[in-house]
């Protein structure tokens, strides 16, 4: 639904966000339906308010930190979008990230000379293997992905702990060239964020313009109908989990590059933040609707809230509560819009008949 036309966005730039004035109710509604736009407005408002309070919030360094901070969450949220769109969910991404991050560190410990592109590829491959485990089990067990990935959330994390056995890997153990990947900037933009942008663009384009991408939406809207219309549902769902695993693997390698210090707890609890980012970004939790761009914006918004609370001198303990309230608001808004839309469609068809 969030893929409806963006034509109305131009006139709307100076409109206050959600104010259902009676006269332009149609317009406001259409605007809210374009989730990416309302997210951008919310993000802009947040940045504006924060900057008014402290103008250093928009300084180069602070923006760089923001971009760096959100890159990993963006990648994970985009991967999760692929999964949620098909009416599944992958709760194991935090554990996959942790496992791959630790594996990357171990790789450099064992073979210090490994060039970083090879480490990156191996990390992505390991993530994909985890995705194969998820996808394979889901195909065999024929139970909801929620249950299987809840199990692998524990299993992958356990493997991670078992492997680490309480050890920690430090930045000194990793080659400079690899760590630089985590902090370097190109024209002032962190490399990490550029990688995230590429992922967003690729997945966004795929979901929107490829036949198999559109089929994912069909699967999520109504699996039975998708099957009847000849879509290989099982294969697509399997592929989606492998892709999401690979992206979580990529995020794991980037995590290792960014933080340098690794133990087995890396990325614990991240899965809920990822799902939250996707939901705030307008990806319907029951599938069939949402875009990678929205999810990415959701991730950026969540990260920005974190840093602007600090600037606004609001107790940082509020951050999680705000995130929770935002999730509730986002799904409430979606529900409201869906109801209105349904009512309007019903009205129209009644006129037609």
């Amino acid at each position: 639904m969030s893929l409806t036309d963006t034509g109305a966005s131009v006139q709307a730039a100076d409109n206050p966000p959600p104010g259902p004035g009676r006269a332009r109710r149609g317009l406001t509604e259409r605007l809210l339906a374009v989730r990416e736009l309302s997210l951008l407005i919310a993000l802009a408002a947040l940045i504006l308010v924060t900057t008014l309070r402290n103008d250093r919030f928009l300084s180069g360094q602070s923006i760089k930190d923001l971009l760096l901070g959100c890159a990993i969450l963006v990648i994970l949220a985009v991967g999760q979008t692929l999964v949620i769109v098909t009416r599944n969910v992958d709760l194991s991404v935090g554990s996959i990230l942790g496992l791959v991050a630790f594996a990357t560190g171990e790789l450099f410990l064992a073979a210090p000379g490994t060039p970083w592109p090879l480490a990156l590829l191996l990390g992505v491959a390991l993530g994909a293997v985890c995705g194969v485990v998820n996808g394979g089990l889901i195909a065999v067990a024929k139970v909801p992905a929620l249950v299987i990935t809840l199990g692998t959330l524990y299993a992958f994390r356990g493997v991670d702990y078992y492997w680490a056995a309480g050890r920690q890997i430090n930045a000194a153990d990793m080659p400079r060239s690899f760590l630089r990947l985590g902090n370097q900037t190109v024209l002032g933009v962190p490399v990490l964020f550029l990688v995230a942008l590429i992922v967003v663009a690729a997945v966004g384009f795929y979901l929107r313009s490829y036949r198999s991408g559109r089929e994912l939406y069909a699967i999520g809207s109504e699996p039975a109908a998708a099957r009847l219309s000849g879509i290989p549902v099982g294969r697509r769902v399997f592929a989606v989990f492998v892709a999401n695993g690979a992206l979580a693997g990529l995020a794991g390698v980037l995590y290792a590059a960014r933080f340098g210090t690794l133990d087995a707890a890396a990325g614990t609890g991240l899965e809920l933040q990822v799902v939250a980012a996707a939901v705030v970004g307008g990806v319907a939790i029951f599938g069939g609707s949402g875009s990678a761009y929205g999810a990415a914006l959701g991730a950026v918004l969540l990260t920005t809230i974190g840093s602007s609370l600090a600037v606004l001198r609001i107790d940082p303990f509020w951050q999680q509560a705000v995130v929770g309230a935002l999730i509730l608001a986002a799904i409430g808004l979606d529900r409201l819009l869906a109801l209105r839309m349904a009512a309007r469609l019903r009205g129209r068809s009644a006129h037609g008949a």
């Binding site: 009416r87 599944n88 969910v89 089990l137 889901i138 195909a139 065999v140 067990a141 024929k142 139970v143 909801p144 992905a145 929620l146 249950v147 299987i148 809840l150 199990g151 692998t152 959330l153 524990y154 299993a155 992958f156 994390r157 356990g158 493997v159 702990y161 078992y162 056995a165 309480g166 699967i219 699996p223 039975a224 998708a226 099957r227 549902v233 099982g234 769902v237 087995a264 609890g269 809920l272 799902v275 939250a276 939901v279 939790i285 029951f286 107790d315 303990f317 509020w318 951050q319 999680q320 509560a321 995130v323 929770g324 309230a325 999730i327 509730l328 799904i331 409430g332 529900r335 349904a342």
Partner: protein, 353 residues
């Protein structure tokens, strides 16, 4: 449109026709799931008692059972909720928030501890009512709502106490939480848990309300036509879940003599694991309380025994995860093989005749 069963996984819709027959066949083969899980529990206790030193001691039994009290309590309402096809992921956060509220009230209100305990349970019920309102009043998916309140309540619990801890509860109270029944090494806290388990068991298995829960788990709409008030029942289930969380919050605070914002973090996934391990279907409509209680105990015994056998506590999550996956994959895999054999036999008979 707003169907409530969690993630009707696409693959599960592949072959719905032989489902009923399969399950009946499976039941014949394995006995009921309840029996299987109870048998697994007995085997685990025997094996651990024989091979793990210090497992079969009174002191160990005391700690094993004490550690299981929160999990067992939370699993009771969760069972009912999952049977109706909903889920409550916010339980651990509600426990945390109730715990910090208890700490804050004790610190600053000057009320008696008895009154505070009652207030905390009521507050828990109010938190659950918020969940219930969002799910039934606004018609939102419980998975998304309770992921939102998971973040919200955890955030609020940090807002209430920050990173402080309240620990100066009267020693008579904290001692009472870990007290054993006179003459035995069984913790006294087990008694109320058992009482509650019996109450929940009776409600679920021997009253019209319980039958209504199964009915709405199988088919909301049909249950409505059969005269069940689906939204009202679900609302009260969430309220009960919140009240039990309040109770667990009180217990947790007294047992560890500490009210902290991060109390019980992450427990929600263990609770869901225990419930699913106990044979409750994530789709709703199937499962029983006996299996869940056995599932909780099995989880606790395995963890405890492995811990005594010097396995790293964190690596134990492999066991949790694997158990969960096996418990959902195994029945389906067995049923699959049986169905295939059956078909082959029939085909053979056809070609023979």
């Amino acid at each position: 449109m707003a169907h409530d069963s969690l993630y009707a996984a696409p693959p599960s819709l592949a072959d719905t026709e032989p489902e009923a027959g399969r399950l009946a066949g499976l039941r014949g083969a394995l006995g009921s799931w309840d029996a299987a899980i109870v048998a697994a529990l007995v085997v685990a206790v025997l094996l651990a008692g024989l091979s793990v030193p210090n497992f079969a001691t009174g002191r160990n039994a005391q700690f094993l059972l004490l550690d299981l009290v929160p999990l067992a309590l939370l699993a009771l309402p969760m069972t009912l909720i999952v049977i109706t096809g909903e889920i409550d992921l916010s339980v651990a956060s509600m426990v945390g928030l109730c715990s910090t509220l208890m700490g804050q009230l004790w610190l600053s209100s000057g009320l008696s501890l008895e009154l505070i305990c009652v207030l905390v349970v009521l507050l828990g019920a109010a938190l659950g009512a918020v969940n219930g309102l969002f799910v039934t009043g606004f018609g939102l998916p419980s998975l998304a709502v309770t992921i939102g309140t998971l973040a919200l309540y955890r955030g609020l619990s940090f807002v209430v106490l920050g990173d402080q801890a309240v620990a100066d509860f009267p020693a008579s109270w904290t001692a009472a939480a870990v007290q054993t029944l006179p003459g035995t090494s069984i913790p006294a806290a087990v008694v109320p848990v058992l009482l509650l388990a019996v109450v929940f068991g009776i409600v679920l298995h021997a009253t019209p309300v319980g039958r209504a829960l199964y009915a709405m788990g199988n088919n909301d709409e049909a249950a409505t036509f059969a005269g069940v008030s689906v939204p009202r029942t679900k609302f009260w289930l969430f309220v009960v879940s919140g009240a039990v969380c309040g109770l667990v919050g009180v217990f947790w605070t007294l047992r560890y003599a500490s009210a902290r914002g991060d109390n019980a973090t992450g427990l929600e996934l263990t609770v869901v694991t225990a419930v699913l391990l106990g044979g409750v279907s994530i789709f709703g409509g199937r499962g029983g309380l006996l299996g869940v209680v056995a599932g909780v105990l099995l989880l606790g015994v395995l963890r405890n025994a492995l811990q005594l056998a010097d396995v790293d506590a964190n690596a134990l999550t492999i066991v949790t995860g694997t158990l969960l996956i096996v418990s959902v994959v195994l029945p389906n895999a067995v049923a699959d093989v049986r169905a295939r054999l059956h078909r082959r036999r029939q085909r053979a008979r056809l070609t023979a005749s």
